[in-house]
Symmetry: C2
Subunit: 254 residues, 2 copies
């Protein structure tokens, strides 16, 4: 059985805790959180501490805290037995202590407290310095997901950047659509089937093939009319830039 | 039973044809297409013509052709008995002939030949000049969808604009993510669970609440690093503008 300590009490830490808790092959021996109040979620099911000097040894010490704090906390773990692993998309493996056994365990998904997560399908991107530690992380990852990938720090950095477009910026487009609906007193929910189909279609036939709309058809009449419809300068600038980008994408390749 | 003639042979025409064909309360009496070859899809199941003077009377004449051609073709239908209806999001009702019975039947979805469509859930936005014609369109719409809405031309124009953000621009973000993956030799498919969850989460808790990422947290360090990662000027400009827009959205309201 693998023993793990989880460091962190945020959304990623909670969802990983929930996923590992029900695995027979994994034992969560402790959860660390700086703020004692944040530990109440965990304390019925494992030991908890807010004193970093009290962190125990374990096969894997899993750091699930904000990117900026990873380097600092990992230095405090150097005397521990066990593999020191962070869960960030953007922090390279070599940011962890040079003389320790280190690794990365990056779940490529958006986590929030309001939404349950099915880890089975979530890509877990793992990286380690040695084959032995890679095997250890693979075993840990496979206990909760069927979608485990060996990804190096450069690839992970690219995936994280791609995810900013596919998640953060996509969501901001939904928000813009919602603003337009609200300003014009139509229900945003009417767009629900369109939003679902847009995602499904891009994944089924590729985003390049799935592109439609006035910019894709280079229909300048409609583009001009829609720009006039927008009174919000922020949305006007976004509409204009993205329409040009679509026109350029297809103009170049046609 | 309602009789309908469909004018047009593109994706919208084909999907509407398929949906109405299996309804007992609707009879498709004819399909018109300018190009005789484009009629082969329909001719086993109804009468077809490429001669506009041969179009028959029907309860509803359903125009499913490109926006630019709607006004022109509707003028050729003025002598017909029946309600003249177009299926466009952006063409107002009053673009149709003044002295005729007119309406709009706008399915708010993205259609492509590669993807089957479940009309039951698709919002059908209907508009007519008289209550009687509105009832007629409602009956027609309800025969294929459980999601029928009375929407006027201004609201429809807004929905169409919102759909450009929610579909066209969102898909372009997926395309950007795919470009980044390909340039860095990681599989775009790894983003599939993230893309699905992004859509589901925005619809469940609202895009405003669902926003995450470096711009949402106003994490300038990560924004700067990710901008440096991008070598494609087009993507750099998009990254920069959308990050600023997200920062502004949350900065203003925090």
């Amino acid at each position: 059985m693998l023993s793990i300590v989880i460091l962190g009490t945020g959304n990623v830490a909670k969802h990983l805790f929930d996923a590992f808790l029900v695995q027979k092959s994994v034992k969560i021996t402790q959860v660390y959180g700086r703020n004692p109040e944040s530990l109440s979620y965990f304390e019925g099911n494992t030991k908890v501490t807010s004193d970093i000097s009290q962190i125990k040894d374990a096969d894997v010490l899993l750091i699930a805290i904000s990117d900026d704090a990873i380097v600092e906390i990992s230095k405090r773990l150097q005397d521990k037995k066990g593999l020191i692993v962070h869960t960030s998309g953007s922090v390279p493996l070599d940011a962890l202590p040079k003389d320790s056994r280190c690794g990365v365990f990056y779940p490529l998904q958006t986590f929030s407290k309001e939404r349950a997560v099915n880890f089975k399908e979530i890509p877990l991107c793992i990286e380690a310095l040695t084959e032995e530690d890679h095997e250890l992380l693979k075993q840990l990852a496979k206990s909760i997901s069927d979608n485990v990938h060996r990804i190096d720090s450069n690839q992970r950095k690219s995936l994280h950047l791609a995810a900013v477009f596919a998640n953060n910026f996509t969501n901001h487009m939904y928000h813009a659509a919602q603003e337009i609906c609200e300003q014009n007193k139509v229900r945003f929910e009417l767009l629900s089937p369109l939003i679902k189909e847009t995602a499904a279609k891009a994944l089924a036939i590729s985003p390049y093939e799935a592109q439609t709309g006035p910019a894709r058809r280079n229909n300048r009449g409609t583009i001009g009319k829609q720009l006039n419809q927008l009174h919000n300068e922020k949305l006007k600038t976004i509409y204009s830039l993205l329409s040009k980008s679509i026109q350029k994408t297809y103009g170049e390749k046609l």
